[in-house]
């Protein structure tokens, strides 16, 4: 009994000294990230499409299956805009005579964390891996595609650049930029997401690409090729 009290007392002292309690990383992530990002799977079935309207940022409850750890830690310390016109449909657009343009003043700037906070948050998020089993079934393996053919495929044949940028000066504004995708995302995630985005997010505004596995892998290889030439 005395040992139990002693260990409890030691744990309390330790948490007082370090500022952490047992649940602290979860609390910290909830406080820092939870107001914009879903840290648990939303109840898509109950909320329907309205779930998307309540979102301010991408869900993070499968962050450990999606992001590369080193990228996430670096991003949290030096964030940059991933969605050039904000996150749809809450994106702040300005209606002008020349068309809709991003309203720079209304675009949300991502929180910037210290190195230690970024490390702690990254460690926590990378442990959120509910789809590991699903990812293990993806059979993408890195290949090579010529930049010329990959560019043609991405832009002309698949039309991905309607929404996504494969370089800073080409592509639309509503989807996440993709010239950083290779450094940001795990290859199997890119492949699995492209095969069926709805498996990851029933309210995604990414249309399900009508293409076979080989075509998906070519696109992943293209993202690798542009990522490695950045």
């Amino acid at each position: 009994m005395q040992i139990k009290y002693l260990s409890t007392l030691m744990a309390l002292c330790l948490s007082f000294i370090t500022g952490y309690s047992h649940g602290a990383p979860a609390d910290k992530v909830a406080e820092l990230c939870g107001s914009c990002h879903a840290l648990e799977r939303p109840d898509y079935e109950a909320q329907g499409r309205e779930e998307r309207f309540s979102r301010k940022a991408p869900p993070l409850y499968f962050a450990g299956n999606k992001y590369r750890q080193e990228w996430l830690a670096a991003f949290l310390q030096a964030p940059y805009p991933l969605y050039p016109s904000g996150y749809f449909p809450e994106s702040k657009l300005q209606d002008t005579a020349d068309g809709d343009i991003p309203n720079e003043n209304d675009l949300v700037t991502h929180l910037q964390l210290s190195e230690s906070d970024a490390s702690e948050v990254t460690d926590y998020l990378m442990n959120l891996q509910p789809y590991t089993e699903m990812l293990s079934q993806d059979n993408y393996s890195e290949g090579k595609v010529s930049l010329r053919m990959g560019t043609l495929d991405f832009r002309k044949f698949k039309g991905c650049d309607a929404c996504h940028q494969d370089s800073e000066d080409n592509g639309g504004f509503s989807g996440p930029i993709l010239y950083d995708a290779w450094s940001r995302l795990q290859p199997h995630y890119i492949s699995a997401f492209l095969k069926n985005p709805l498996q990851w997010d029933p309210n995604t505004i990414m249309p399900v690409p009508q293409m076979n596995e080989q075509a998906v892998h070519k696109l992943v290889d293209y993202l690798k090729a542009i990522g490695e030439t950045e």
């Binding site: 209606d95 068309g99 809709d100 639309g172 504004f173 709805l198």
Partner: protein, 119 residues
């Protein structure tokens, strides 16, 4: 009396009636279409300035009336290529169910052809 009931029923059952369907169509349009077709449906969405083929304006009555509801349904469900148009218009048939696509078609009809449709 019969005429009143008939008119009431027609109004309630018409796909173009204002109500839940219209609101659903408008919400879906905001979510899936405005990026390219514009927040006012004028074809000048935020992506349009960099697109090789300009998105259709949904507020041009004449052009929109040249398309049947079935064609609009098909192009939303199966993409631009299904009606020999640009592949930049994706197929939404996996993302949206038929009821949702019908709600979008009804909203397009409102945008193009009803007073104050694009407000």
């Amino acid at each position: 009396m019969r005429a009143v009931i008939a008119i009431t029923l027609f109004t309630l059952l018409s796909p173009l009636s204002h109500g839940a369907d219209d609101n659903q169509g408008k919400r879906l349009y905001t979510m899936y279409c405005t990026q390219c077709h514009g927040v006012h449906g004028n074809g000048l969405g935020v992506n349009s300035s960099r697109m090789s083929v300009q998105p259709r304006s949904h507020i041009e009555r004449e052009e929109m009336m040249a398309r049947s509801d079935e064609e609009l349904f098909k192009v939303i469900q199966q993409g631009g290529k299904s009606i020999d148009k640009s592949n930049l218009m994706p197929a939404w048939g996996d993302n949206l169910n038929e009821e949702e696509i019908s709600a979008l078609v009804a909203h397009l009809r409102q945008l193009c052809c009803e007073e104050n449709g694009n407000e």
